[in-house]
Symmetry: C2
Subunit: 385 residues, 2 copies
Amino acid sequence: MTNPYPGVSLVGTGQIPVQKRNPHSLREMGVMAMRRALEDAGVDAVEAVFVGNMLADELQGQKHIAALMASEAGLRGVEALDVEAATATGAAALRMAYFAVQSGSARVALALGVEKMSEGQPVHALAKALDAEREAPTGATLLSQNARMMQRYMDEFKVPVDAFDQFALIAHHNARTNPNALFRDKAVTIADVQSSRVIVPPLRLFDAAPICDGAAAVVLARTDEARAFSDHPVRVLSSHVATDRFRLEDRADPFELYAVQKSSLAALAAAGVTLADIDFFEAHDAFTIMTCLALEAVGFAMRGEGWRLAAEGQIALGGPLPISTLGGLKARGHPIGASAIYQTCEIVQQLTGRAGPNQIHGAECAMLLSVGGVASTAITHIFAV
Amino acid sequence: MTNPYPGVSLVGTGQIPVQKRNPHSLREMGVMAMRRALEDAGVDAVEAVFVGNMLADELQGQKHIAALMASEAGLRGVEALDVEAATATGAAALRMAYFAVQSGSARVALALGVEKMSEGQPVHALAKALDAEREAPTGATLLSQNARMMQRYMDEFKVPVDAFDQFALIAHHNARTNPNALFRDKAVTIADVQSSRVIVPPLRLFDAAPICDGAAAVVLARTDEARAFSDHPVRVLSSHVATDRFRLEDRADPFELYAVQKSSLAALAAAGVTLADIDFFEAHDAFTIMTCLALEAVGFAMRGEGWRLAAEGQIALGGPLPISTLGGLKARGHPIGASAIYQTCEIVQQLTGRAGPNQIHGAECAMLLSVGGVASTAITHIFAV
């Protein structure tokens, strides 16, 4: 049976630099990223806009953001909806835009991720990714839950905290040539990592991605029409969302990351590729332990050995499996709802030979993994030229 | 060219009674509605769950609700994403489930709407549907903006406030046989409406839908497989979202409701039907002025004359265009993110001859309109048997 669906391709990207505090408002940031993506695709309008934002309800007192953004961008009449999946929110927006095109509802759709964390209490707002009845009341945050996983991993597999150093070092190295990265001017040494402040033991400052402001957008079109918008479209081979038992406490095996396993396996199957075809991997490196566990759950490393890919340099630019090639969540920055859209933009840069000094030569296929909460949600997209 | 898409049908519904204060928690309410819908469709699981909820971030301190609900319902592994479009949120969840099936991503998907407004400050949280920078700081709320539209309408078209009485009366009459309605035991008289407290002049208590708790869910499947799940599937003929200039103040004509016009016209065209084919209309009767303006924007009434359809009884059960046939937002209740899903369940009841004493005989085609904010967003779905 032939596939009746049109297929979906990326035909435009727009980023604004990630900053500790962007002087513009949430809406201004979003509109700037949208305009850049529309300009890149050579269009004035789209049929649908999907916005990923996690924190504006608490931090800016704003809901109904997609309609607001569409209106502020001058796109009167367009479809506009908000989508959220905690820290995987950007990938959820990408999936909705994919749905709109793949279902025949829109010929051209835009996914925007936008987050302004420099206002209010972002750590408090982020904790809403956890169970408000059974986790948050114990004082649990994403930091404390990841610290807990990290300690258990170190105990279980007899791994010292230094085993995680290279995740941060490689990310910071990769960010240095990315003009949109938060830490692009920062030369980080192993001494910086090892002497960094312990936030929640054993988790150090360099084990966690920074709080920051950012916005990025991508334009999607039907694959059979993609060349009308772009000379270098990138195909979305597959998109898959999976969830796990919500609370870390309820999982028999805290290291399994079932949602990551399921979503990545299904995305590979739907794309018709194997792990060997993946030229680079945009990981959800919000925490070093999460990167480590995800590498294992996807199947890039054996159980208990994900850290080795960092320690042995395999995930560096010249290695067999480059990750976070333009800085990742750790060093490009992690403005929650925007992160996966930044990663999608970076994947387009890599797959179209426009990644500058960090170019992965001959890259043709990439995997993007986004993780919501403590891997309660995982969203995988696979792209190719 | 033949349509390559599978088509989408409703194959299961689940409601819990709307209450002023449901003794169960947000998650318990959601899981109950999900279980009832799954049971009605005769399935243990689905591939994807889309959750519409607007207020839990502020009222319950909970985000990431879809993954939580899926986990609490025992659906480990399933896709689960949250969607929001202010007061049109339930319809956005329905649209996402429609996308999932129509795009070939899922064979069976569930849309859940859930809202618990009996905790916290729901009026404050609802105001986040407006512009947080330029409307909310002036003290504007959905109540005050609708009151403003109502006053302008009364002035412009020389209509007294009593012209709106029948919207509430008809809704309350229709709710009396609906076991899931908030006001099912309430006999409301015209004297009750006319003597009701003025909340924001000229808007009276009976001109606004109540704050309440509720949850409802629907199961969707491919039309070509729908009879495997249900003996009486209902087809989703079309689904369309449109937006307008976000702020009421920025519109040249406050009575036009451009988003409603655009979304309803596009949905009719995509469904291949005309207004004459619509046997009943599930309106967004959160405010009497909004029902009146929507009747005009969709084309059921001439400009300035929407109120006549109520005053003349045309929208009553025996009239040519019944609306809010099981009580509507006004009398069944308006638990924000759940409302459009309740309406979808009620449409299924009507189109399958299971609406009890309120049955519209021979009903074959229905329109559902949901409005986000002050009609900044409009979502139209058309259904048929």
